[in-house]
């Protein structure tokens, strides 16, 4: 390690990204949303205490009229629901802009950074980098994510599809496929943390088939961490939305919680889209020749020597 670098330059990527997030969070929660922040804060606290009903004031302490509203219609309609309505409307209008911005950002990155290329002279001299298991996980992740995005958008932009049988089919497969994504996300979590310094990596053949090799650059790591974090929110909220089935009986007890979950789902999906694009960009566009390797599992040795020497180093360590 070089020691003359400052703390900032060492952790530039992390600091910039987290500052960006802080700005985004501030803008979103304090300027853009209309829900009752204080209520949501109290509500989340009460969730951690095991009460998901959102009824923060005991029914006994309310007057008859308030009791009726809370007991029949669920607690505090005016806190989260208007935000859901608004967020939903705005997603339809704003999301295209967000994507346009992201697209532009990546295009600029492409123009300025260009495409990395490895000079391959011996295409047959390949190394097995990804086990079948890893390939399946990584590819499934991409495919499922893309499908979830498309089907998710088919709901959000339902005014374009106009509803009907196909949109209905896409909506319910969104739920099923989303369920299927949860284990994928779990594995990716393990993969993402594999080179963390507190994480003691086990050795052995089987493990090599599971864990990815190599050391990540900060941006890759951020990508993974963010993916894990927002993936967690998405998976959790999506699962709970599916698991807590809305019926007349449980309505009052869970509606506020489900609203919160939906809100979380909206938020996390908007954020994660950036990292998905990042992943795709880095897999497919930024580097040439990576995608075929991801499919077959084998990459030319020269490719690795030029672009990912860390992987080779690690492999040699294993062989010794």
């Amino acid at each position: 390690m070089e020691t003359n670098k400052s703390f900032f330059s060492q952790n530039k990527a992390y600091i910039l990204v987290s500052l960006g997030f802080m700005a985004l969070t501030y803008w979103y929660f304090w300027l853009a949303t209309i829900f009752d922040l204080n209520y949501v804060y109290q509500f989340i606290l009460s969730i951690f205490q095991g009460d998901i009903s959102g009824q923060l004031v005991p029914l006994e302490d309310m007057n008859r009229y308030q009791q009726m509203e809370a007991g029949v219609f669920g607690p505090r309609y005016d806190t989260i629901a208007p935000e859901i309505t608004r967020a939903f409307e705005e997603r339809q209008e704003l999301l295209p802009y967000v994507f346009a911005v992201e697209f532009v950002a990546f295009t600029i990155a492409f123009i300025f950074l260009g495409r990395k290329k490895a000079v391959i002279s011996k295409p047959d001299d390949t190394v097995l980098v990804y086990s079948l298991f890893q390939r399946v996980v990584l590819l499934l992740n991409i495919v499922i994510m893309i499908y979830l995005f498309i089907t998710g958008f088919s709901i959000t932009f339902g005014n374009i599809t106009g509803g009907g049988a196909i949109a209905y089919f896409m909506r319910w497969t969104h739920e099923i496929v989303g369920l299927g994504w949860i284990p994928i996300w779990l594995i990716l979590t393990v993969i993402a943390f594999k080179d963390h310094k507190f994480f003691k990596r086990p050795s052995g053949k089987l493990w090599n088939k599971i864990f990815l090799r190599g050391k990540y650059k900060p941006m890759y790591r951020i990508n993974y961490y963010a993916y894990v974090a927002f993936g967690f929110l998405l998976a959790l909220s999506g699962f709970l939305l599916w698991f807590i089935f809305p019926t007349a009986e449980n309505y009052v007890h869970v509606i506020q919680f489900r609203r919160l979950m939906l809100f979380m789902h909206f938020m996390a999906s908007a954020v994660i889209s950036f990292f998905i694009f990042e992943t795709i960009y880095s897999y497919v566009i930024a580097v040439k020749g990576y995608l075929p390797g991801l499919i077959t599992g084998r990459l030319p040795r020269e490719y690795l020597e030029e672009l990912r020497p860390d992987v080779l180093v690690e492999m040699e360590k294993e062989n010794n």
Partner: protein
Amino acid sequence: MSDYYARMKFYCDEQRCIQCDGCSVACAEAHELPVGISRRKVITLNEGIEGKEFSTSVACMHCTDAPCEQVCPVDCFYIREDGIVLHDKDVCIGCGYCLFACPFGAPQFPQDGAFGTKGAMDKCTMCAGGPEETNSAKERELYGQNRIAEGKVPVCAAMCSTKALLVGDSEDVSRVYRERVAARGHGVLSAPYGWDTAYGNK
């Protein structure tokens, strides 16, 4: 008749409701709903506490600015001129946003998809069917009876055992309720519950 259009409303008089569940069962039976669907439900609060227990029945309130109609991504809702909020099940994709937006928990979802996913939304139609041809077999299958088209009262209010549940033109509902309140002369809520949310401060 003048060109005045009725504004159809429900109101449940909680001083009369005794949670006999007549309305909810009548509704389920009349429209032959699947067991998981409760277009109308009856709730008792403070059960067993002397002087505080009361019951009420709730279904779709057929709001003026129906939030469900606002959030529906596929615009399957439509509001008739008499104020009845209806929706088109063929268009509905079962996403459930209407449930999040509804202040009253009216939208119901059958659990009929694979892995227990939600089916197309179902809710109180005020016995007015749906966009299909009136009184056709398809309409009956999807939305239940169209009693309004037959000139009949919605079945829940008609079968209410204590006549707690009122339905009809808003003027008439409030007249009936006003009469009762005047007769009782005590113990009246400051405003009918849910009306602000459903119909604005009118």
